[in-house]
Amino acid sequence: MTAGRLGPFLLMCVAMFLGLGGLPILAASVADTEQSHLQRVLLLQDYNTRVVLLGTTLLGISGGVIGVFMLLRKRSLIADVVGHSALPGIAMAFILCEAARPGIGRNVPLLMLGAALAGLLGAVLVMVIDGFSRTKSDAAMAIVLSTFYGLGTALLTVVQHLPTASAAGLKDYLNGKTASLVASDVWVFAICSAVLLFVTALLFKELTLLCFDKEFAAAEGWPVFRLDALLTALVVGITILGMQSVGLLLVVAVLIIPASAARFWSNGIRSLTIISGTIGGLSAACGTIISALYPRIAAGAVIVLSGTAFFVVSMLFGRQRGLIWTVLEARRMQRRIGRHDLLRAAYEIVEADCCPDRHQVPSDAQLLNALFSHDQLIAMRTWSARRVRQLVQSACQHELLIPVGGSLRLTPEGAALARRAVRNHRLWELYLITFAEVAPSRVDRAADRIEHVLEPDVIRQLELRLTAQQTAAVPQSPHD
């Protein structure tokens, strides 16, 4: 199916567009230095660029995969809480290290440990406040997030007044700075990302169950609390790994944007996860390349914006409830209903002509030979002359009507469809009248789909009644 292939194609287009984000510069600039810089970046000639690219891409992939479960667990914002809560942990770790031995404050592993502990504490606090007080989870998240971030900012001010020079880079953790990444660190990150990815893959079935039906999982004896905690731990892991590339404040985007974008392409959790991981990896890679080209823009921002580009394209073109398809589908549906209304009107004209009391049903020959005009159709419903012209045109295109001189005639397909549409519509009206007390839950269904909504025996029963009442009082269509 071509529509199915369109999706990946569009996403690839976005990736290429973003990946080649530097091309306009290439065209505009003739400066040698700049061109060679571009070449070096795009051809990945720098060892450091290659390693950073690998690290961020893996981070993007695992973020995209874990994000699917955060999204489905409806805990999207927990990642934001973890990110913001990590800040005081970094500052505290720095202060403690400086106190122990001045000058070693910026010890990356210790800072990460501090961030992890504080982030985890923030997430746990949200759960505690949510579970044991009357404060709801969204309020709990806002409280924890702002408190920790406030604390972190305060501590950073303290750090800046410490008599040491190494505090300068701490603020980079807020918005990310790939330039500060060193190859040796990135290898560690890459391995950690791969581990997170592996854990998620291993627990795929368990996490799916947790997100879908926690209560059933608990009744079945799965340790839901520990699985939930593990999911939070995975998010903390992503936050810590993303701290240096995308930064603490934006790490939520690495988790949630790819998953949300992927939701527009897939209705199955397995393909959803694969697509989300792919989008996460691609947007991280594109973001890294762009930020290598323009080192002055914060890397985190570029990675997030690349993800947003994927999201926007997915939201517009996604096969599963993407905006454009939804609109097209709705229009197609409306045209179909309009054509059915038109055919019903035609049928009713013929019926009024040949069997005025509705004592019998018009025969096929009568339906096929009858001629009727635009004006007759217009008189049947409250629709404008323009609308009828449109509908007639559409019906002619679908070979349901044929123009004969100035009049119209039903084709065999049109006659059959008209007969069915009228029958379904009358059955439906009869159903609404007969089973009025149970019907309201089903009235939103299209009348022409009656076979799909009602049970076969109900339809049989209705048909019997319709035949019995054919001679008596068939309910007049409300449009008459």
């Binding site: 409806k74 795929f204 009744a219 004896g221 209705n267 049970e455």
Partner: protein, 260 residues
């Protein structure tokens, strides 16, 4: 209440159970033994603690006091013999899984940690879907199913567990006639094969028709026992406090001995 002689034969034995949310007790002093191989309706007004009774039996909500034995042992040790059908509204039906995926969830415990759902288990899940007439919809995403079909998928998940005791929370709520018939058919199959089902049921009209035992609950256990002796007008009045317009109708039917 006297202790049963062979506790391992009693599917569900609730002794002196009290459950409270925060400070407000929801159900008090429940004493109840489910007879094996029977279909038991749990009936009571809204807020009577019907769901809580089931959830507390499954250790999903903490008990203040009392204990629950499943075939003579704590539930923890007997999970494999119990299947739970939660209320349909308890999950998000826009979740990206198919009907088959949901039915297969009933087998996860059996499959065990870390292992994927292999073809063999998918076949089992499909067979469970077939039993509720949903095999044709196996690959459909669950949001594209009607309410009754979703309920049948939930039932299929429980059937896949092949348990001896089924606890169902409002399976008949808001379902179409086909689904209602399918559920009744499954209940009868279960009874015929000696299984026991405890079902929260809201429709007094159909309760005597579908079930053979009844538990009348309104925070306390009002009455329990075989339909003929326990489902009386007097007991219903004590359960519902005369709030129910249907009551007299049901009472008349019971008095007339009419079972449709």
């Amino acid at each position: 209440m006297t202790e049963p002689q062979h506790p391992e034969l009693v599917p569900l034995s609730i002794h002196d159970m009290t459950v409270a949310y925060q400070r407000r007790p929801v159900i008090w002093d429940i004493d109840f033994d489910a007879p094996a191989g029977s279909l038991i309706a749990i009936v009571g007004p809204n807020g009577a603690g019907k769901s809580t009774l089931i959830k507390a039996s499954l250790d999903l909500v903490p008990k203040v006091s009392g204990d629950v034995l499943v075939f003579g042992e704590p539930y923890r040790a007997q999970r494999g013999r119990v299947a739970y059908v939660p209320q349909r509204s308890s999950v998000d039906w826009d979740f990206p899984v198919s009907a088959l995926d949901v039915a297969a969830m009933g087998l996860y415990r059996h499959i065990g940690w870390f292992r994927p759902v292999t073809r063999r288990y998918r076949q089992e899940a499909l067979a469970a879907l077939d039993r509720v007439g949903m095999a044709d919809f196996a690959n459909r995403q669950i949001s594209h199913l009607s309410g009754g079909q979703q309920q049948r998928v939930f039932l299929a998940r429980a059937l896949a567990q092949n348990a001896d005791l089924y606890l169902m929370d409002e399976p008949f709520a808001g379902v179409d006639a086909t689904t209602e018939r399918a559920i009744v058919g499954i209940l009868q199959e279960l009874r015929a094969s000696g299984r026991t089902a405890l079902v929260v049921h809201h429709d007094l009209q159909t309760a005597p028709e579908y079930f053979d035992h009844v538990v009348l609950l309104n925070m306390r256990l009002v009455a329990s026992g075989p339909m003929e002796t326990a489902f009386t007008q007097e007991n219903l009045r004590r359960t519902f406090g005369g709030k129910l317009p249907l009551l007299d109708q049901v009472g008349n039917r019971m008095a007339g001995g009419e079972r449709t």
